[in-house]
């Protein structure tokens, strides 16, 4: 019974996978580039 009530176990922690690193760096990079573009746009509109 006690075993049934336990939440399902999650996977063990593993280091960031290459695809996650790509996701983080791409998203952040896009954010920084767009920051410049959008700032320029707001000041010219």
């Amino acid at each position: 019974m006690a075993e049934q009530e336990r939440l399902p176990q999650e996977e063990e922690w593993f280091d960031l996978m290459p695809v996650e690193k790509k996701l983080i760096s791409f998203t952040l990079g896009l954010g920084v580039v767009l920051l410049v573009v959008l700032l320029l746009a707001t000041h010219t509109i």
Partner: protein
Amino acid sequence: MSQEAKGARSPLLKSEDWWALWIGLFIFFLGFLKIGGVDILGWAVKTNMWLDLSKALSPVSNVYKGVPGIVSLILTYVFLSVILSIGVSAMGGDIRRFVKGFTIIFFVAYICWIIGNYAYIAATPDQLAKWKLPWSLRMTGEAGFIVALIVGLIIGNFFPGLTSYLQDATKPEWFVKTAIVILGGQIGLNALHSTGLTAQIVFRGLCAIIEAYLIYWPLVYFIARKYFKFTPEWAAPLASGISICGVSAAIATGGAIKSRPVIPIIVSSLVVIFAVVELIILPFAAQAWLYKEPMVAGAWMGLAVKTDGAAAASGAMVDALIRSKALSVMGVKWQEGWMLMATTTVKVFIDIFIAVWAFILAIIWSWKIDRREGEKANAGEIWLRFPKFVLGYAALFVFVILVGKSISGDTAKLLSTGIGEAGNFRGIFFVLTFFTIGLMSNFKKLWEEGMGKLAMVYVICLFGFIIWIGLLISWLFFHGITPPTVA
């Protein structure tokens, strides 16, 4: 019903995800019929801020103003019991056990909501004069969610017998998904009203949101994964919950990446608690340091405070606090409502983007992160992962925009009222959600699951950089803009 018959049930009828969509759409369209002059949902109960308990409840529509609040409450209970029981039955659940549990959950949660709307708890500084109050806890009516959460936690942790009795109706994910579907119509209405605002503020609000998504999310995700050793299953809902729009984003992300249901639920409880903390601190910080940049302050509230209600309340507080300071320090009398408008504009865009972000994450997780060696990614897998209730949210958003564009005058007012009546159920589903989150949050188990560590990431990210990056983005896009002055 035989096992075979259950197995043969259409996928559209056997998951909470789909039933959240159906019930959300059903409630919305009952409200929408108001456009034809039919007030079908007007009897539903509405919770008001109160000093006199007899005025805490009333029907949501004036059409039913003769109906006592308690009758409205009972009618609302019956209505929800029936439509939810249909869903439970279709999903193969036990209706009797559900109704027994739901009856207790509904009334206890509602009492919590009434308590949270007590004026001394809920009134924000801009409302003190109206209510003739010397002080209040300034928590807004959303305090009811906190009270429901706390009462749920007490029952969930100290009354295992009752918790077990309520188990069949303890469905926080279902409740919140239904609320989010209904929210789609309300957000559409807000966006529709925004078209009349200055294009400059709308455009800058959109820019600020794109930036907030793209910068907040990867930073929180990275910190949670790298330094706090969370798996992607935890890190993604957490990143969405902290960086986007709290509860809705955490739930949508949890659905998109197929995390265990308990994870976005835990994140949601943190979001609500910290939104209240932000509501208490940030407007006063903005008054102290940003009174010369009022629109920056307004946008900042939208970017930093993570629940809709708390963000709107923060915007209203900032609007009141900064206008009074500007008048006393600089002798400038700004028009009311412009800072709040910046807050709500930013918040509208945040809410709109939840569906987009959930879709992107569903693609990335099914194609890349959860893909096993030798497995081929396909569109079916993305569809399987995609949180279906988000479709309802997006569909109602688009529908309201399209309908709203094609009508005007009294019909537009009726649309607004009808959506408001449907939206009243969103609040009810939210309070049910928080009470049931409490019920299923057994601290001993949650601690084993990493709740303490999660709260630490939340505090570090929120106060370490989310608030400050939000301030920087708000300043970059809104500095130098001030509201018109009162002639």
